[in-house]
């Protein structure tokens, strides 16, 4: 343990050591700080703590005698914090693909801390107030890209119109992640294990991208390319996420398996069913963690739409689901185990969704 005892005399005793003397001279600010500590320590002594040894931990940079405290994890970058989308697009355009857009930062900042990402610049969207909203329009719920996951978690519009999204949000990271994390950031980051891309796929949502050439709408099916990769151009910013309001009475469920709640899903299944008695008017199933992009389990959906919502149909759909995915193995789970989980969780999600469906 690196500690500094109160009893260590500050400057004078180091005088006979030339190296230390130099370090101390370069470090005038620190010396002052130490002197102040010395005063405080004396005061403590007057309070009857004579001879008590107090250990004070100092940050590593201070221990190393640096002139200014300067612990740095991320690599150097130019930093832009525009107040409008237009300024952000202009800043992004200047770097020709070498800049990264910073939304909630809950995925990008760790990549920077590890120096796995080394962008020339960051364009921080956090000061663009106009990018945070939830609106109902044309049968869709439209989210500004910078709408925080925590806002979505407590939104009454989301609770009424998109209960599947509300349920999924509880699975996104942890509370202190969701206070910063955004819907646009999560979808643009395109982690295949993340919940929001799966919900976007299940609900057949779309996103709006703005670039120098204007605005375009991208359907969920056309957005995700592979791991952490979307069809967004380097000079485009995802500005809005549009999800069609779920039909009233629709059944829904998000089932997920992770080692701890809040970890990325080993497998997650988003399910939506619209029922008419025992008939299934519409079924939607999408995966998280079962491949490089969210997978729509269309052939499994068709079994339900054809055969209804009985146990046998659910069983058959779950079996079919395992054949529709081609998951990878990683440190968390083998490919076989992921395929197995896809079936188990599809059955669970459908059973629960059917249980809450009305109509």
């Amino acid at each position: 343990m690196i500690a500094r005892s109160e009893a260590t005399p500050p400057r004078s005793a180091n005088g006979d050591n030339a190296k230390n003397e130099n370090a101390n001279n370069e470090n005038a600010n620190n010396e002052n700080a130490n002197d102040e500590n010395a005063k405080n320590e004396n005061a403590n002594d007057e309070n009857g703590r004579v001879g008590a040894t107090r250990f004070v931990l100092r940050p590593p940079s201070v221990q190393a005698g640096l002139k200014a405290p300067a612990t740095m994890k991320p690599p150097k970058f130019e930093y832009h914090a525009p107040k409008s989308l237009e300024e952000a697009l202009a800043a992004l355009g200047r770097y020709g693909g070498d800049a990264k857009v910073l939304a909630g930062g809950q995925s990008l900042m760790p990549l920077l801390n590890f120096r796995l990402a080394r962008p020339a610049a960051l364009v921080d969207l956090n000061r663009i107030a106009s990018l945070a909203y939830i609106r109902e329009q044309d049968g869709q719920i439209r989210f500004g890209a910078m709408t925080r996951q925590r806002t979505i978690e407590f939104s009454s519009v989301v609770a009424q119109r998109l209960p599947l999204l509300k349920e999924a949000t509880r699975w996104v990271g942890h509370l202190p992640i969701r206070t910063r994390g955004t819907i646009g950031g999560s979808i643009a980051h395109a982690d295949p294990s993340a919940e929001y891309p799966a919900v976007l796929a299940a609900l057949e949502g779309e996103v709006v991208a703005r670039g120098a050439k204007g605005e375009r709408v991208i359907r969920a099916a056309d957005l995700f390319q592979t791991y952490l990769t979307t069809t967004l151009a380097p000079d485009e910013i995802l500005t809005e996420v549009r999800l069609p309001a779920m039909p009233a009475g629709a059944g829904y469920a998000l089932e997920e398996f992770a080692r701890r709640h809040g970890d990325f899903a080993i497998i997650g299944i988003a399910a939506l069913v619209v029922r008419e008695g025992q008939r299934c008017k519409l079924a939607r199933l999408a995966t998280a963690g079962a491949g490089p992009v969210p997978v729509r389990l269309r052939a499994a959906e068709e079994i339900l739409e054809r055969e209804g919502l009985g146990d046998a149909a659910v069983e058959a759909a779950a079996r079919r689901a395992t054949e529709l995915v081609n998951p990878d193995a990683d440190i968390h789970a083998s490919a076989d185990y992921r395929r197995h989980l896809t079936g188990v969780l599809t059955k669970r999600a459908l059973t629960r969704a059917i249980g809450v469906a009305r109509g």
Partner: protein
């Protein structure tokens, strides 16, 4: 583009100003530039939760935020919890129920629990476990922490 940015912010009600590179992490700024070492640096990539602070009234991980992003913000750190020389009721509950052992995760646990209880004033144990899973503790086995949060909930709810 300036290499050094000025960051003005309030921490525990006190105005501070500092100058740093834009890449400086908020937690390092709090500890090194402001000298508030109560907030701990653990994993440095947003997993362990030791660095959790209140950012404009909401729990957030200060190791995956930039100091420059806190310009104009109001923060609360563990140093701001004590009132008139007395422990905050949540801290008191942690002490009473063995909610800490080595204390490394405690600042993050406290700030996370504070936001958790603010938005869920009467949680059940499953919800407490889910809330607390945001922060890693390697000593207590969590049960003491869960007991502390459960015990503090009515006190904090009554104060509101």
């Amino acid at each position: 583009m300036a290499d050094i940015v000025t960051v003005r912010l309030k921490v525990n009600g006190v105005a501070h100003e500092g100058r740093c590179e834009p890449r400086k992490l908020l937690v390092d700024f709090i500890r090194e530039d402001l000298g508030l070492t109560g907030t701990h640096v653990g994993c440095e990539h947003g997993i362990c939760g030791a660095c959790t602070i209140m950012f404009n009234g909401e729990a957030a991980r200060s190791c995956i935020m930039l100091a420059v992003q806190a310009d104009g913000a109001e923060l609360e750190t563990v140093e701001g919890l004590m009132r008139e020389g007395k422990l905050h009721p949540l801290q008191e509950a942690f002490r009473e129920h063995h909610g800490l052992q080595c204390g490394f995760c405690t600042p993050g646990m406290l700030m996370t629990a504070l936001d958790f209880l603010r938005t869920n004033p009467a949680p059940n144990d499953r919800e407490i476990r889910e809330g607390i899973s945001a922060v890693l503790c390697r000593c207590t086995g969590y049960q003491g922490i869960i007991n502390a949060v459960r015990a503090a909930a009515p006190t904090l709810a009554a104060e509101r």
